[in-house]
Symmetry: C2
Subunit: 418 residues, 2 copies
Amino acid sequence: MKVKPKGADEIMDIIQGGVTAAKGFEAAGVEAAIKYQNRKDMALIYSEAPCKAAGVFTSNMVKAAPVLWDKEVVAHSPAVHAVVVNAGIANACTGKEGYECCKKTAKAAAECLQISEDAVLVASTGVIGMQLPVDKIAAGVRQLAEKKKDTTEAGQEAAEAIMTTDTVSKQVAVTIEAGGKTVTIGGMCKGSGMIHPNMCTMLAFITSDIAISKELLQEALSEDVKDTFNMISVDGDTSTNDTLVILTNGLAGNPEITSKNEDYDKFREALNYINTTLAKKMAGDGEGATALFEAKVIHAKTKEDARVLSRSVISSNLTKAAIFGHDANLGRAFCALGYSGVEFDAGLVDLYLENDEKSLPVFQNGMMIDYSEEEATKILSSPEVRILADMKCGSAEASAWGCDLTFDYVKINADYRS
Amino acid sequence: MKVKPKGADEIMDIIQGGVTAAKGFEAAGVEAAIKYQNRKDMALIYSEAPCKAAGVFTSNMVKAAPVLWDKEVVAHSPAVHAVVVNAGIANACTGKEGYECCKKTAKAAAECLQISEDAVLVASTGVIGMQLPVDKIAAGVRQLAEKKKDTTEAGQEAAEAIMTTDTVSKQVAVTIEAGGKTVTIGGMCKGSGMIHPNMCTMLAFITSDIAISKELLQEALSEDVKDTFNMISVDGDTSTNDTLVILTNGLAGNPEITSKNEDYDKFREALNYINTTLAKKMAGDGEGATALFEAKVIHAKTKEDARVLSRSVISSNLTKAAIFGHDANLGRAFCALGYSGVEFDAGLVDLYLENDEKSLPVFQNGMMIDYSEEEATKILSSPEVRILADMKCGSAEASAWGCDLTFDYVKINADYRS
């Protein structure tokens, strides 16, 4: 279940921290009382050195105002210096007033930080349909600008401030060597409902001091998302606010990466580790979840087939409820492979139930075989459960991550706004 | 919320009963102890007069053995006389042995009823992966053949025998006039989990004494399914066993319908009423459901757009949980329209919360407006709740039906096999 990129030990070191791990990045988290009381609900990421930015955003036709704002900034701004995030209200379905609010947020940040308005990204998460209280946002921005620091603690506070129904904050950081210099990449994200990214997940921010061209930065991010953030699902609902942004300020001093050389490959691997780790943290902390649920498909005809098949299994409500109940009802997973839209020979498929220690064959050549229910229940009681499907019709593979469907998911979402 | 086909009162009468309502059809339900104890779990539908048959089956790549058997019978048999159904075990993912079991079931029925083996349709519903106990099935068939009757009670017993997690049996029947004769159409079906038909829902059987050509019968059924059974979802899981079959024996004595004349149109409307009623009964009795949840989309660009949009809303776990919680979080429904894959202008959309008596505007031109939470809660407390979306970009409309997502859904499915 552990993410172990090939040769990961040789090319990267996993370190403490998140968005402040890389050189020149500061962060803060404060209580701005946007909607929640007595908890941090606004965060700032800041780099004095100008950053290149790349982003991937929700494919939902209903895009939140900050998504519209950020797409402009990522596409057209010469440099980005800051990201302002609030939790509690999503600023989605808020029309012109909502977009004006993004502009005012950026303006407030620009004044405090003495940067240009179009150097500020904004992001929101929470309830759809409500307007943001602009005065509180502006006051929050002033607090954030005063408080920002480059410490691990400051990064931690930012990661806490962007949480909604998340039960834990989510960060990761690694270092690699590039052009003889140490390059750091760190990130944070939040889930945990309305998670079925079809571009990327709700909110994720990655910072790095690597020097890399803007084109390659965007390409690396867009490619990597297909196997990481787009491979998780909590509830099949693709949010209006999904935002994944990476900022790089070049302070590591490596020779700028402008072609797909060895340094680029290392960066891609490190980025894949960061994204996979954050995506899995999000899936495992899905609303009400008691287990991280992975579906791995091997020997599929094509990579896209493998992706679609594995996503179909982790999105199946029936399979997710069975995982919650520790019931080895793998017929449901088989059924989910079948309705995924991918063509395959059902008479060939093998299914295994797995955790980090054991692999239990349950279906062979499309039929259920004798297996120990006791063993199955033991595996299903692990905090990380995997269903492995061997399609036996090719050489492509993919993994998708989700969580179980529990009473608490229903409880949280039957009563979210009150 | 009521289904009132245009001019329905003029062209049809709703009557008591189900599969035995039409002339010449008998039915039975018996306890065969296939998997359940102390309840009916096998059903028979029988017509001494030879029937034309049309069917629509699951699109799942993993097709249960009875689906494979029935497709052959519907396509190639000169006449159908009987349907044998069992609940408890789905006979899916059971390989050659499973298919052999269908053959043996048909053979047992053929012997008892003195008909040909290929005149027998079989259908199963229940747990995936287990083999059927052939001896018990054969004994059940003998009981059914002895017990069959043409009474309303016999139809009722059959409807009860095919239930799994259904809480109520589901039947409907109507009469129309065709060619100066009274024609009767009746049906029964069962849900209630793994319901997200992509051809039709789990098991539904319709009988009629109408005289109609086989080609037109199949065309009428295939067309109607698009707006009825394919427009419901309980949990997004498309079953391996979905089967919808119609049998017509011509005993009404109407001149055989061989072209799309007035009688055909009446039959289509009656069939639409039957299918819509059964589909809604299934949605409203979804596993754990406390409410029937309808999404109606109007003024969409195309019919297919309207279908996709309405289905996306009733399939959204978040929206379904909000309905359960009587929380007017229509932002989630708006979000579900947005990720449906259909293109539209989010700035135009109006959303209404409705029941049979009231219509409450909640979003206007893409933005939430002031509305009474008290009114909203009152509407959400109805047994039938509708979200109406006005897309304002065309003239097409469609309805889809689902149910709320409840603690009981999770409870039922965390522990289905035990």
